[in-house]
Symmetry: C2
Amino acid sequence: MVNYPHKKKPTLKSTSEKTISFGKRGMSFEDDLTKSNEHYLAANKAVIHKKPTPVQIVKVHYPKRAAAVITEAYFRTPSTTDFNGVFKGKYIDFEAKETLNATLFPLQNLHEHQVNHMMAVNKNGGITFLLVKFAKFNEIYLLPCENLATFWQEYKLGSRRSISRKEFAQYGTMIPEGAFPRIDYLKVVEELFL
Amino acid sequence: MVNYPHKKKPTLKSTSEKTISFGKRGMSFEDDLTKSNEHYLAANKAVIHKKPTPVQIVKVHYPKRAAAVITEAYFRTPSTTDFNGVFKGKYIDFEAKETLNATLFPLQNLHEHQVNHMMAVNKNGGITFLLVKFAKFNEIYLLPCENLATFWQEYKLGSRRSISRKEFAQYGTMIPEGAFPRIDYLKVVEELFL
């Protein structure tokens, strides 16, 4: 299935088409997580990486004496989560999302495939969770898969559209801010799951 | 770092540039592994996926009323392995390569980053290995990270350029052929590591 990645969808001008340079989007939460993962790797504490953006490659141009150029490709809906890896032998798998909304996290920010993937990981003994950053408060919460599953079920039944910040505080765990690493989510993982 | 992915590098005509359609390459080993992983997932035995090809996206075109098109992107050197996931709570991570060579597997088919990644995974308690298929004999071997590390050290010192099929038979384990799944590598993983 080919579609727009919702995070990258720009406001479209109605009268013209647009070509936009990639890589200027705000990715501070993702950057902080990547830096934290680099810290864990250097400290030999865990090996956790962000997966590449899934892309359907259609045409590749091979110029003489230069690198191959992909000239036609499409974004694909991710079938798994963004981050996975190993911590103390255990499989770690999570999705990370940032919201500018002050009071709630809209569940439409997650794909059905991603939630199903998390449930399958959970059944197979992996440690899996959602990390949500409320940017206005600089608060990051870890919500375990089991809690997300309950909320997701209500979402699929139509009785829920979002998870409130209050619910994250109640059912999740706040990740304390630090310096090295900036987001020490494995500390919370260790307390909750190991 | 941007470069040619060696598997996909075509024979270049010296007088002209070429644009080649992607997706027609022989990928039977990878396809068989993907089907085996789908079998494991459906049987709720493991959750293992191939990571997307790492691509550096430079330009995206957003046409009106149609899916976003990536119009300029480059292949990146993979910093990790192709496959990872969870089996009985344990982290599984491996690279899969096919060779048409009858007697040996050239070590230049692996990236330094990938081998370093496998060693880091190993140190952190993950299960990691190399799968190599000798296509002429339809033989698939699993070589544990520790053995690969020894061969790789000799390769870096210049005293070795490849791993022979005999060495795979001696230090690795052959994956028996099957029907469902076609490549039951987790059976060997269970015998060797769990």
